[in-house]
Amino acid sequence: MVVALSEVPSDERVELVDVPDDECRARLLRLGLLDGSVECRRRIRNGPVVVRRRGTEVALGRSLAREITVERAPRDGAPQ
């Protein structure tokens, strides 16, 4: 299932599949956040989203999080 990062609830694992802005993509790539799945640590309502991979925590601003498309992990059995 493909949604925007800003829509992902806290504690879910997702893969960042599309970061439209070239520079932002390069910066996230360097930090290793595009290497595989990341944990969505916290989503602050109308605020930044904090994602984590192997102990590296990065806050992504709201407008950026809206542009980023993620693939939600298939094993996710969250209740509707």
Binding site: C24, V50, G55, R62
Partner: protein
């Protein structure tokens, strides 16, 4: 030189001034390691043409320089540009890698070896890695990277001697997988391996410097067609990082550390916002109440008013003859507004020095603890409404203590654009603690309704000005990508060392600037230009429904904001006149020290914008408020 690439770099080159740069991610322990390696006096200065601070000191016969923390060698921000330039200039690099963040930090390491920069890796924070259950095979890492790797714990000094011993072994592998990308460069590019690497990564400053035909065009729309290459290079490098980490690192399952739970609390709005407010209140209390009022009050009211100033006035009167030519000199030295030997010294040592020390202590502590980025995250949403990101929260709070120091702290705000907006809002609508003291006294006499009205007007101006600047300034808002460092207990020695170095550097630069401004204003005062200004202001003060003597208040406000507010207590004004007057003096131009700082940090154009904008806003809003009050009354 370029033809013999590599041969002219390294510690064996035997130049008179061999330089080593300390490079690594923010909070990887660079400054602690720098302190351990040099342990002597360090020069803190701005990197030429920027507001980015760099530190350098002697390390034996070498010169060691600290660089701003980065996650890659490129040009995405001012700090990155500084680090990139430092890496290109250095003869060798000590790459500080956080052992708990191997997967993140090895990207920079591989980038350095791809660039052929002679490197030694300091694998720092080995103690924390161990506590986390992370085991790293150092020998395997060393052979995988092809450069020396020394495990260190910078805060205790463990491994630092070994690091110093192995510095001469700094090296880079002969070739790395990056070589295959060089084919994409046009034939006959005259560049070092470091420059070639940055070129295939699409680094524009390097392209301009090297002057690659076909790649760089002067001011063209698509200077580098190599953006696609950059992504391929970065992805390939990440693949190497992953495979090295898989080989050398073993992670045992571990308990969640207590600082991680604290980090969680800071990020959860329900707990994070109260914690952030408490921290900001503490910052305000230290800067605004303890230092700006009590310490500065004592220094000014007792040390300077009772002892220093009378003594200096006596000396000057005794030295200078009473004849005509000496009068201007005496005025310049000891006048009550900005005398060079009296008031200027008092401002610098009695006001600025305590504030600067307190500011650097507070900021250094928050920096060391890793709290600042988290404060930025929880406040990002609120500040986003006025065109700022969460990073602007600290300058705005420090500004309620001292706007001058807040202007300095705008350095931690991301882009130039955001810094300008923050500076403008600080100059315009944030009253400093000295002013808040006098203003709250006057408002208390008026009553709570006026208090509310005053706050509403200020917040309205702050919001409107923020939105207006955000809409009109060129460029767009920076995307917030903030790496959150691990929370740690701040280390007093580290904080104290940074504070001492930064304070000395700051005063060394600010004092002469302030002295020159003071001399210029005193000269204007002597020739009667200030009185002419009071006269010229008469139509404006009349338009606000205020007496002509209010012009004198404003002229005092040009020098120091609390003088303006204090000057109002001497005027006999009605409630609504007082209210209009307070709104005007709050929105009016920042004090002369702040303007000197805006000039230094932002340049003449921005300073002029802030200054003229403050005049215009103060009178426009003041006039509007006066008109509204007239209708209501």
């Amino acid at each position: 030189m370029r033809a013999t690439e590599g041969a002219d770099r390294g510690l064996g080159s035997g130049d008179a001034e061999t330089s080593v740069a300390l490079v690594g991610a923010p909070n990887a322990g660079k400054s602690a390691l720098f302190g351990r390696l040099t342990a002597e006096y360090a020069d803190v200065s701005n990197y030429p043409g920027t507001t980015v601070e760099t530190t350098a000191a002697a390390l034996g016969s070498l010169r060691l320089s600290d660089t701003p923390g980065v996650h890659g060698i490129s040009s995405f921000s001012e700090a990155e540009r500084v680090t990139r330039a430092a890496v290109l200039e250095a003869d060798a690099v000590v790459n500080v890698v956080d052992a708990t963040q191997l997967g993140r930090d090895l990207f920079v390491t591989l980038q350095l070896t791809d660039m052929g920069v002679p490197t030694v890796v300091a694998l720092n924070m080995m103690d924390e890695a161990e506590a986390d259950g992370v085991a790293i095979d150092v020998d395997a890492l060393e052979s995988a990277l092809g450069v020396p790797v020394v495990p260190t714990v910078a805060v205790t000094g463990a491994g630092v001697d070994k690091l110093r011993d192995r510095l001469p072994e700094a090296s880079a592998p002969e070739s790395t997988p990056i070589d295959s990308y060089y084919d994409a460069l046009p034939d006959g590019v005259d560049a070092t391996r470091a420059e070639k690497t940055l070129l295939v990564e699409g680094d524009e400053p390097t392209a301009r410097r090297v002057g690659v035909p076909g790649l760089a065009t002067d001011g063209g729309d698509a200077p580098l067609a190599a953006v696609g290459e950059r992504e391929a290079v970065y992805r390939e490098r990440r693949t190497r990082v992953r495979s090295i980490v898989d080989d050398v690192e073993r992670v045992a399952a571990s308990e969640r550390a207590p600082e991680e739970r604290l980090g969680d609390l800071l990020l959860r709005p329900a707990t994070g916002i109260p914690i952030a407010l408490a921290l900001l209140a503490a910052v305000f209390y230290v800067m605004g109440v303890v230092v700006a009022q009590r310490v500065v009050g004592y220094a000014e009211g007792v040390l300077f008013a009772r002892y220093y100033t009378p003594a200096v006035e006596g000396v000057v009167a005794g030295l200078l003859p009473a004849s005509g030519w000496a009068a201007p000199v005496e005025f310049l030295l000891v006048n009550d507004n900005l005398g060079l030997a009296t008031v200027t010294v008092r401002y610098t040592l009695g006001v600025l020095l305590p504030l600067v020390v307190a500011f650097y202590l507070v900021i250094g502590t928050l920096e060391d603890a890793g709290v600042l980025p988290r404060l930025a995250v929880v406040t990002d949403r609120g500040l986003g409404r006025i065109g700022l990101s969460g990073r602007a929260v600290v300058p705005l709070i420090v500004g309620m203590g001292c706007v001058t120091m807040a202007v300095v702290s705008t350095r931690m705000v991301g882009s130039r654009r955001e810094r300008l907006i923050t500076t403008a809002l600080l100059g315009l609508a944030i009253p400093c603690s000295a002013q808040i003291g006098v203003i709250s006294g006057l408002l208390a006499e008026l009553g709570v309704v006026w208090w509310g009205g005053y706050l509403a007007v200020l917040l309205g101006v702050l919001g409107t000005a923020g939105v207006a600047l955000d809409r009109t300034l060129p460029g767009r808002r920076d995307a917030l990508i903030e790496q959150l460092p691990r929370l740690r207990l701040p280390r007093p020695t580290n904080v104290a060392r940074k504070t001492a170095n930064r304070t000395a550097a700051f005063l060394g630069e600010a004092a002469p600037l302030f002295g020159a401004t003071a001399a210029a204003v005193s000269t204007l005062d002597y020739v009667g230009a200030l009185d002419a200004v009071v006269g010229a202001l008469r139509p404006l003060t009349a338009a606000l429904g205020l007496p002509a003597s209010f012009g004198r208040v404003l002229v005092l406000g040009l020098i120091r904001r609390d003088f303006a507010a204090a000057g109002m207590t001497d005027l006999a004004l009605s409630a609504s006149q007082t209210f209009v007057g307070l709104v005007v003096v709050t929105l009016f131009v920042p004090c002369i020290l702040t303007m000197a700082m805006v000039l230094r940090e932002r340049g003449a154009r921005s300073a002029l914008l802030v200054w003229v904008g403050s005049w215009a806003t103060a009178f426009a809003v003041g006039g509007g408020v006066a008109a509204v009050l007239e209708v209501i009354a």
